[in-house]
């Protein structure tokens, strides 16, 4: 689903965010991405979202090499990637329902279809009863779940999360992680950037560790297989 081939990202001022990163994530795999701040976690996620382009190497998502993707194609790639942010990125000028419906609206789904899918997503995160509320009226954990519902509402094959539990207490964090685990069980590839090491350990999943732009652990389990490609 995701493949990084010798990916290097260099910003102008001699600052190299990623150095020759190689890894591969299969369908339905759930992995953590960890490392101290500035290690390159965000850069890696941005490369997947095509917010940034690699300086060298190739980023492949769903069989498509993102490097050469023309600018106008970017929106169509993003429709296949659900993203959850630490600060939710919810819009407070509309209801929970309308927030979750945004990816569907963007795709031009019919309102009938959209209504059904939004409710399914809200039901999945346990917020069906709050669809008409403003996100401001919700607690931090609930807001994060609205963000997750928005990320999965159009059933993307890839789900990215950037510090999704950053502001939450351990109980809520565990709930959110369980949600992610459920998505991976139905075939969604999930990549979670986090530095909550305790939680990561508890989950016992594959963990990619970045240090100063180098992937020092959790790289490809089948080194020979993808390294040569």
């Amino acid at each position: 689903m995701i493949e990084f081939r010798q990916v290097t990202k260099r910003y102008d001022s001699d600052h190299t965010a990623l150095r020759q990163v190689n890894f591969h994530l299969g369908r339905g795999e759930l992995a953590f991405l960890t490392g101290h701040s500035g290690a390159g976690k965000s850069t890696l996620l941005k490369l997947l979202m095509v917010m940034e382009r690699p300086s060298a190497g190739e980023v492949v998502v769903g069989g498509q090499v993102l490097n050469r993707l023309p600018r106008r194609q970017i929106p169509y790639i993003r429709r296949h990637i659900g993203v959850v942010f630490q600060n939710h990125q919810l819009l407070f000028d509309r209801t929970v329902f309308d927030n979750v419906a945004m990816p569907l609206e963007v795709m031009g789904a019919s309102p009938r279809d959209a209504g059904r899918r939004v409710r399914a997503a809200l039901d999945k995160v346990g917020l069906l009863s709050k669809e008409k509320m403003n996100p401001l009226q919700l607690s931090g954990g609930e807001q994060q779940r609205v963000g997750i519902a928005r990320a999965v509402v159009n059933k993307p094959p890839l789900l990215l999360a950037d510090e999704p539990t950053g502001n939450l207490d351990p109980k809520l964090s565990a709930d959110i992680m369980n949600l992610f685990a459920q998505f991976s069980q139905v075939g969604v590839t999930v990549l979670i950037a986090s530095h909550d090491l305790a939680l990561i350990k508890e989950m016992g999943r594959r963990t990619l560790t970045l240090d100063q732009g180098n992937l020092i652990a959790g790289g490809n389990p089948l080194q020979g297989g993808s390294g040569g490609r």
């Binding site: 993003r78 945004m102 963007v106 031009g108 789904a109 019919s110 991976s184 075939g187």
Partner: protein, 337 residues
Amino acid sequence: MAADSAPRSRKPDPARGARISRSPWREQAESYFIHHRKVAGDSAVRMWRTPVASLMTWTVMGVALALPVALLLLLTSLQGVSAGWESSARVTAYMQLDSSLDQARALASEVGSDGRVAELELIDRDRALAEFRATSGLDEALDYLDENPLPHTLLITPEENARSADGVAALVTFIEGMDGVERVQVDLGWLQRLNAMTDLLARAVWALAILLAAAVVLVIGNTVRLSIESRRDEILVAKLVGGTDGFVRRPFLYTGAWFGLGGGIVAWILLQLSLWWLSGPVERLAGLYRSDFSLSGLSIDGGLALIISAMLLGWLGAWVAVKRHLDDIEPGEIAGG
């Protein structure tokens, strides 16, 4: 981990494929139109929520649009005047004082048979004197004269197709060349000057219209720029979840068009108000000049054309702003360090 989820992983893909086959193009088109209607409605509602600011933008646009349109209307009225006078342009031929009535009649029949002459009236010198006496008030002064100072006169109305300035000039030369004609008079000079002036005015008005249209585009552009700034978060999220440029632009283009609509309506109201306010004095003035000159207002068609062009200008202004500012908003900064 990857291995045990692999068999189940195929599930979402067929589901996506099925979804596409379930929504044929008709449904796609339908939801596209529904989306357009929703965006149009949302933009209108947003405008409605800030009535004072919107009203001010509308008024600025209205004034900027009303000014050139008012001048154009005035110009049309003036051109109507000159056309009216052109059609009543008459050529007056004065005969030599010593020519007889028979000579005058012969001349009249000769001129009258020319194809360019529509109507011809012979005023003999006695009748001319009588009319002059009646209208000039110089009754007593005329009594002191030994003889009638007025010649026989031919009043010639040119045929429709000879009424242009050139046609009339050719007719004048023709009549001047005839025997017994002392002088031919045609009062076209002032008409030509009026025409020249309206031509000049027309250019000035168009130049002004173009400048003011540019001003309208800039005003709308600036207003839409502010609106883009205030909806920055929404634009970021829309881009993050895969909104195309067209999707992100759409609400702002509608906003521009709505500003245009409001501006057009304000312009129409302003025009009708000033017309109503001016019509009394204009009528009185025209009455003093014995003219049937009147200011022509904007027809329904004209009004609709005004509103549609205003909407197009608003849309254009929004387009300029959107092109300049929307591309700057990229979700790069959204993911923290």
